[in-house]
């Protein structure tokens, strides 16, 4: 269970690549049906967040295992401007102007686990996991 992939994200076509690879990986992990679409959509949102706010970054995708459960993890990293107020950024409808402000809170609803670390001037790391049902 060490398989992982790295996708550089610097232009909009990379968003499509990241979510397609994520869907393939999630299929290998044993996900099916609507869960595959939920995972791919969440990847799309965090990848777009990189492009909108940090210009470039990367997405790390991998298989996860915990307590006998299988799943996938998605890490979205950038060294962009960071998020000054994470609680505010996670509110539905909050945006600094480049989107509807539904991307990150939406991605959190699609996945089982969602953690966000950010430091102003240093960048943002979002870690998401979803477990097979």
């Amino acid at each position: 269970m060490t398989e992982q992939m790295r996708v550089a994200v610097s232009r909009d076509a990379d968003i499509v690549t990241a979510r397609q690879l994520g869907r393939e990986l999630a299929t290998k992990a044993g996900f099916s049906g609507s869960d595959l679409t939920l995972i791919a959509t969440a990847i799309s949102e965090v990848a777009r967040n990189i492009i909108s706010y940090a210009d470039n970054g990367e997405i790390l995708l991998g298989l996860a295992a915990r307590d006998g459960r299988r799943g996938v993890f998605v890490v979205a990293q950038d060294d962009g401007p960071g998020i000054p107020d994470i609680d505010q950024a996670m509110l539905d409808g909050f945006s600094t102007g480049k989107s509807l402000g539904l991307g990150l809170p939406g991605a959190r609803r699609l996945m089982d686990e969602f953690e966000i670390e950010s430091e102003v001037g240093r960048g943002t790391t979002i870690t998401m996991r979803k477990w097979c049902r």
Partner: protein
């Protein structure tokens, strides 16, 4: 990959063939706004059957396309949203409020036909 736009009578059909980048979607909006005028179209069908993901950007852009078409005098219908995609859109917290939708191309045509008969010149 640009989206082919077909003309059938008074209706334009944007037939999405594969995953779209943000740029492709914005280009589709511009092209439809232009072609509605050029062909004096009264209806637009956007077939999203081939899309396996519709995220917040795609959903917002489709709303923009429908609103733009309306301002240009044409009614837009989005057809072919896949079941898993519909579930994901709802879970994201998004809606396609204000956008007409139909199950598939056939239903979309029927919807436009009825509305054109109702609204159109005799």
């Amino acid at each position: 990959m640009p989206v082919p736009i077909l003309k059938q009578g008074e209706v334009l059909i944007a037939s999405i063939q594969a995953a779209l980048t943000d740029h492709d979607l914005l280009q589709l909006k511009d092209e439809l706004a232009d072609k509605i005028g050029r062909f004096r179209s009264r209806g637009v069908i956007i077939d999203v059957t081939a899309l396996d993901v519709m995220d917040s950007f795609a959903t917002r852009t489709l709303r923009g396309i429908a609103a733009t078409a309306r301002l240009r005098g044409a009614q837009a219908v989005v057809v072919g949203i896949q079941p898993d995609v519909a579930i994901a859109i709802v879970q994201l917290g998004l809606t396609l409020q204000g956008v007409a939708t139909a199950l598939d191309l056939e239903e979309g045509f029927e919807m436009l036909r009825r509305s054109m008969v109702k609204d159109g010149p005799q």
